[in-house]
Symmetry: C2
Subunit: 232 residues, 2 copies
């Protein structure tokens, strides 16, 4: 910003590089995606993923996090890249390749207001028309999410710290778009050993009050060492 006329020149053409973020949330029933409404051309007014141009002193992951916070107020989400989109004409302005990331966040972490005036959660079946090739990006993000949740219990990032087994099952069913037998799901999850009772069992009292669990990161780390797999 010091010099408005400063230009950056290279002997060979360089593409611009951006990082985009597909942010998944879960409201207890269905999976949601965080979109922002574009304020400038191209695609002004259309919905798109938070993201922006890479700076020279940051990695693409850092860029994704920075843009995410600038555009939605979301801090400290742990973003992970999943694919680099490089179709020649994906941006009408100039050649732009984008490194797409995804992250899972608790809905409660997104405060209203902020710069996020234009950020909004959409259920997967209510996604509007998206800018650029973002529909393409979304499809692949969903595919990666489905695969990943079978290997790592990433789903716990989407739930409150303390949750019931039913909530956990709803989450898995929402992501994988299948239904599980409740009893088998209980057994499988408990046998895995990565859940801890969050509260003393409701004893013999109410059989209607669900047990509360929390994710046990220690046990998970042990398991991961030995290599395991969540089968669904």
């Amino acid at each position: 910003m010091v010099e408005n006329n400063k230009m950056y020149s290279y002997k060979y053409p360089h593409p611009a590089v951006t990082a985009d973020c597909v942010i998944f949330g879960f409201d207890g029933v269905s999976i949601k995606v965080l979109l922002i409404q574009r304020g400038i051309e191209p695609y002004k007014g259309q919905w798109a993923f938070p993201g922006g141009f890479l700076k020279m002193n940051e990695t693409v992951e850092e860029c994704a996090k920075r843009e995410l916070e600038e555009e939605t107020g979301l801090k400290s989400a742990s973003v992970e890249q999943f694919y680099t989109f490089s179709a020649v004409n994906r941006d009408p302005r100039e050649r732009v390749i984008t490194v797409a990331h995804y992250a899972l966040v608790r809905l409660s972490e997104v405060k209203g207001g902020d710069d996020a005036a234009s950020a909004k959660w959409f259920a997967m079946n209510e996604i509007p028309s998206l800018a650029f090739d973002h529909d393409h990006i979304l499809r692949l993000a969903v595919k990666c999410l489905k695969e990943r949740i079978c290997f790592e219990p990433i789903g716990f990032e989407l739930l409150p710290e303390v949750f019931t087994m039913t909530e956990l099952q709803n989450l898995y069913e929402a992501i994988l778009e299948v239904k599980f037998d409740r009893r088998n799901f209980y057994n499988k999850m408990l046998k895995l050993g990565i859940l801890s009772d969050a509260e003393p069992r409701p004893a013999n009292t109410s059989r209607r009050t669900p047990c509360k669990y929390r994710f046990n990161a220690e046990k998970y780390a042990e398991l991961k060492q030995k290599g395991f797999r969540l089968e669904f």
Copy 2:
């Protein structure tokens, strides 16, 4: 090349973008990686993956294939990106981010001579010191290969069209760095149903002559539809 002085200017700094290729091969005993010796600075004389700068009219995958052919003579390898490396100082010349790809090829496909004078296969335990952050790239490529082979029978791209069960087992053992029980491996592979007999069974003749198989892409496509998983 028309104008040597032509420069490409942008209002904001742009990184250079490259595509690199980790090429895996299999000699019947161990996994090998194809490296080329750098002819120019930086890292002149050191070994590195084939790769090079993205052109404005190609995707990163196309770039990877083009560079691979230019530098090793390898044609028509099916390359797949697996990660984008963007550490700020990974190239001493300028800011360069690279989209790393991998491919599996039959050793027989690499002809000697060509531009490939400086291309050479290295066993995984004889990898020399690598240029840039290519050791880092290799580690991740190996990890991806291990994961991938459990879901898709990509290993068949590394074997001759017709192969014995023992060769197939050696391949899996080399990639996953484990040992399997021969009988269980036979059963598991045959039950999957993606192998066809390549020759009429050697009848009652020699029990020493191994049966030959070939990969059955049709059956595999069927299986893939339904979603399956190779468990090891």
